[in-house]
Amino acid sequence: MDAEKIQPLTEEQEFSINMGPQHPSTHGVLRLMLKLQGEMVREVKPQLGYIHRGIEKMCEKLTYPQTIHLTDRLDYLSAHILNESVCLAVENALEVEVPDRVKYVRTIIDELNRIASHQLWWCAFGMDLGALTTFFYGLRDREKILDIFEETCGARLLLSYNVPGGLMFDIHPNFQKRTKDFIKYFRKKLPEYDALLTGNPIMQERTKGIGYFSKEDAINFGLSGPPGRASGFSCDVRVHQPYSAYPFAKFKEILYTEGDTFHRYKVRIDEMWESMNIIEQLIDNIPEGDFAVKMKPVIKLPEGEYYQRVEAARGEFGVYIVSDGNKNPYRMKFRSPNFCNLAPLHKMSVGYKIADLVAISGSLDFVVPDMDR
C-alpha cells in the first residue's frame, strides 16, 4: 500500500502502542512504537539500544583474536560466519594463505550454521503467524546440527571455532559421517516443512502480497540477505565476492522478484536446499593437510584499512578494521545485516494490519543483539 495515499490522522483517531521491548514477536528487546488507526498500522518507529553493549568500543581495547569472540555475540545464530569475517580480514591483511582444508571446513560449517539459523527462523515465523507446531519441528532438526557442532568444537551456539590462520583444532573424525547423515535425514524432513506451513492456504493468504518491497527500494535501503533477494536484489556475497571454499562449489543464488512476505519465506526454504547442495559437494572432498597456519603469538595488522564482507544468514555482514599497526584495532566497525534490514520496516508495513506487521517483521528475521551491537 502506498504510504502517501493514506490520509493524515487527527489527534483523536491516533492510537499509539508500544510493541516491545517485552513482546513475544519482536524476538528480543526490540521496541516498535506504533501508531494505529483501528487495526491499521500508520507508523512504525523502532527504538533500539536495549541491548547495546558497545562491542565496537570494547574491540578497540582487545587484541584481534579476542575480538572474534565478541562477533559471536552479535548475530548469535550465525556465529561461525561472523567469526569467519574477522579471521578473513586479519588473514587478508597479513597476506596469509590458509590451507584448503581450512577453507572447506569453514564453508561446510558456515552452511550448516545457515541451515540451523533458517530452521530457527522457520520455527519463529510459524509462531508469529500463530502456527505453534512449527516450533517443535524446526527445533527437532536443528538439534542434529547443534550436535555436530558440539562434537566438532565443544560449543553448540557460539562456536568460536575460527582463529586467524585457520581453525582452533582439527575436525572430529565423525564430522564427515555425521554431516552426511544429517543431509540424508534433512532431505527427507524439509518437505515436511512445506507440508505443514508452506502449502497451508491460511499461511498463503496471510503472506502473499503482504509487505511488498521493490528492488529499487531494497537497494536504496541496503536490504540484504534473503529479504533483499526476495525483492530481486542480487546481493549474495558468496556469489559476487566469493571467499573460503565457495569458489570450489557450484550453487545458484536464490532470486525472486515478487518481494512480498511469502517470497522472503520462500527464499529461505530454497536456501536450505541450496546449502545442502553446497555441503554435499564439499564434504567428500575435504583435502588432507594442516588445520591452521602458524601465526605469530601477537597479531599486529599493518597500518591501513581492511574491509571484509561475508554472507551471514540474515544478510551481508561486513567488518571494517582501521589499524594503526598495534596489536589492537584502532577502530572496528561491524556492518550488521539486521541493523540495515530494520530500516525498511516502516515502509513495508504502513497500511497493513497489526497481524501483517508481525508477519513482515518475522519475515525480516530480526536478531536484536545484532542491531544494537
Binding site: 559476487h240 591501513g304 571494517y320
Partner: protein, 152 residues
C-alpha cells in the same frame, strides 16, 4: 569498471579529489563541502551507478573525524570508498547522504549518537542507541567513562 577508469571519471567530477588505489578498494577523499555533490554524481552517473551504500562509518583520528562511505554498484559490480574529513571537533557537521541512499538513515543516526557528528538535512536526527540524557560520545577516542570502564 576498472579502478583506473573509475579514477579518471572521478577526477573529472571533482578535480580536487584525492584518489588513492588501496589494496582492496579505490579510496576517494574529498572536502566535506563537496561530498554530497560528488556522492550525487557517483550515484546518478550512468557509468558509475553507485546505488548500494553497504557501510557508512566514522573514525576518530584524535584531531579530526573521517567519514567513510563504502559504495557498491549493483549493475557494474565495482566498489569505492568515499571519505570526507571533519576537522571541527567542537561542532562537527556534514551533509547527510540520506536523500541519496535511504540506508544512510540509520547509520547516520548511529554516528550522531556515538560520535556526535551532526548531519545536515537528515530527516530524523535523533539518538538511536543511547538514552537522550547520555553525556559524551562513546566512540570518540577522548571519551572517558569513569563508572563502567576500569583502566588498567
Amino acid at each position: 569498471m576498472e579502478n583506473n577508469k573509475l579514477q579518471e571519471l572521478i577526477q573529472n567530477f571533482t578535480p580536487e579529489a584525492e584518489i588513492t588505489a588501496g589494496k582492496q578498494f579505490l579510496t576517494v577523499t574529498v572536502d566535506k563541502s563537496r561530498l554530497h555533490e560528488l556522492a550525487k554524481k557517483l550515484k546518478e552517473s550512468e557509468e558509475t551507478q553507485f546505488d548500494y551504500l553497504f557501510c557508512e562509518s566514522a573514525v576518530d583520528y584524535n584531531d579530526y573525524f573521517m567519514m567513510v562511505y563504502h559504495l557498491d554498484s549493483t549493475t557494474h559490480r565495482h566498489q569505492l570508498v568515499l571519505k570526507a574529513k571533519i576537522t571541527d571537533r567542537e561542532n562537527p557537521e556534514i551533509d547527510s547522504v540520506c536523500d541519496l541512499w535511504e540506508a544512510a538513515n540509520y547509520h547516520e543516526r548511529e554516528i550522531f549518537d556515538l560520535f556526535g557528528i551532526r548531519f545536515i538535512n537528515h530527516p530524523d536526527m535523533r539518538k538511536i542507541f543511547l538514552d537522550n540524557d547520555w553525556v559524551g560520545f562513546p566512540l570518540r577516542k577522548d571519551y572517558v567513562d569513569k563508572v563502567n570502564v576500569v583502566e588498567r
